[in-house]
Amino acid sequence: MRGRLARRLVGSTMTGLTYGAAALAILPLAVIFIMLLVKGAGSLDLNFFIKSAVPVGEPGGGFAFAIVGTLIIVGLACVIGVPIGVATGIFLAEFGGGRFGFAVRFVADVLNGVPSIVIGIFAWTWLVKPMGHFSALAGGFALGMILVPIVARTTEEMVRLVPNSLREAALALGYPRWRTSLQVVVRTATAGIVTGCLVAVARVAGETAPLLFTALGNQFFSTRLNGPMAALPLQIYAYALGPYDEWHRQAWAGALVLIVLVLALSLIARAVVRAKHQHA
């Protein structure tokens, strides 16, 4: 047996190390944020939000086309993914006790881990190849598929939080099962479900890989769903790898806009969840 002093020394050393590890883990977040502010904020002006790309050397180019593109594609993804995801989540929470529910839950978690690039080439075979051209629609479809398992699992968690006594009360009043689920249980859980959707949207809004061969990107302003469309992450990627300093500056600025968007969504979602949990 080692001495008491030695043991306590080891203990405090290791405790200190875990403090250090936590600090070290947070460091990249701080560094990324500072760099984005330092490198990106300078290029942010009104033009950035209202103008589209201009040829290199001309002043006043912006990312408006990419921002609008991202909003449209993510919107499409929600239209496709949210209803299926929410329905699956309600199913899992209300009827998911059996073997089938277990399997769906398992598949949702596995799908959640499938690389987004794989989803991207799947969407390509599904939509781009038969149609013969790239389209925003295919991009939205790809992001929608990534959305479904995330929305399903968060919805399930949120619906589960609804106390059973509420269900029993509604059923005792003679409500049929579907009205109990939709009008009592889901309504109670609405805030949580919306939150889950926000978290999912925050995640897919930053996705680049699934858009590479679906929405493709576009140098021009376009709102046509059936043709190639620009997206913020795609534009950041293209400009970061490009040879011009001007492009690099704009890539940083675009990244700043993207991360503010994404972090705002996740922080709002987190705050709502926390408030909800404290009530429960």
Binding site: S12, T15, T18, A21, A22, A25, I26, L29, I84, A87, T88, F91, L92, E94, F95, G96, V104, F106, V107, D109, V110, L111, N112, G113, V114, P115, S116, I117, V118, I121, F122, W124, W126, V148, I150, R153, T154, E156, R177, S181, L182, R203, G206, E207, T208, A209, I236, Y237, A240, L241, H248, A251, W252, A255, L258, I259, V262, L263, L267, R270
Partner: protein, 302 residues
């Protein structure tokens, strides 16, 4: 009854989707699989002009960069999880936990941007000149270091998977019953000894699951890796040399593949990646669920 049926049909879409992805990928990959057979896994040639493809460098690079990421991320993530559940004062737990989880919210392309313009210059101009006298005799650090490399990819990946491993491990450690800790302390162990000899072993399976979950993320990560790994079809044991991963090759070459066999080879590599990540994630789920039964640990944590 109708309600239940409608929901069941919609819920059925998820397994169907997984199945469809598998079928589509495999059917697109068949020509390449026919042509190259098992040699696709063992050859290093990647020649679109002659139509000869072997994915060994891609497979090797995928596994190697993920391994580097795990080596860096696992100890740090576990220490974070222990910090957050055992040692941190109450008021610090929520903010620090949130900050670590926010790392997972940062889009991949932003990690890539950061990697190109910040991390690579730091590794090349500040880190490497300092450690070179010591490390240059170690085989895995041989050769000239230009920047884009397996090392850079591994470091970026480690930052990206750390929040996943930390979040899931944290949930697992929270699920360890309090009386286990009390028993350890009652036997006279220090708090650290309790963590090391009681809490961590109790959560072993779940922690293993968390690590494997992180591995799954690292294997399939695309954009950040594509931007910093150097994209060269070569097998090199040196961390300082460029490499390639399956995901990065698909991202770079898919839209430029002119011949059918090139495209099919990329699909074959993609199907391989799909298979590996499905197995890895399934394994991780089973392990995590053993500790925190049926809960959405890890899927809501993010």
């Amino acid at each position: 009854m109708v309600f239940r049926v409608v929901l069941t049909v919609l819920a059925l879409l998820l397994p169907l989707l997984l199945l469809m992805i598998g079928i589509k990928l495999v059917s697109e990959a068949v020509p390449a699989a026919h042509r190259f057979g098992l040699s696709f896994l063992t050859r290093s040639v990647w020649d679109p002009v002659r139509g000869e493809f072997g994915a060994l460098p891609l497979i090797f690079g995928t596994l190697y960069s993920s391994l580097v990421a795990l080596v860096i991320a696992v100890p740090l993530a576990l220490a974070c999880a222990v910090f957050l559940t055992e040692f941190a004062p109450k008021w610090l737990r929520t903010p620090v936990g949130t900050l670590i989880e926010l790392l997972a919210a940062v889009p991949s392309v932003i990690y890539g941007l950061w990697g190109i313009f910040i991390l690579i210059p730091i590794l090349r101009d500040r880190f490497w000149p300092v450690v070179r006298p010591v490390l240059s005799h170690v085989p895995i650090f041989s050769g000239v270091f230009y920047g884009p490399s397996v090392l850079a990819a591994g470091v970026i990946l480690s930052v990206m998977i750390l929040p996943y491993i930390a979040a899931v491990s944290r949930e697992v450690l929270i699920a360890v019953p309090q009386d286990q800790r009390e028993a350890g302390l009652a036997l006279g162990a220090t708090r650290w000894e309790t963590v090391w000899h009681v809490v961590l072993p109790y959560g072993r399976a779940g922690i293993m699951g968390a690590v494997i979950l992180g591995l799954g993320r690292a294997l399939g990560e695309t954009m950040a890796v594509t931007m910093v790994i150097g994209n060269r079809h070569e097998v090199s044991a040196s961390l300082l040399q460029p490499g390639y991963t399956i995901a990065a090759a698909i991202a770079n070459e898919f839209s430029e593949a002119v011949s059918d066999v090139h495209l099919s080879s990329l699909f074959l590599a993609g199907a391989l990646l799909f298979l590996i990540t499905v197995i890895v994630n399934a394994l991780a789920r089973v392990l995590v669920w053993r500790v925190a039964r049926g809960s959405a640990v890890g899927s809501t944590a993010i």
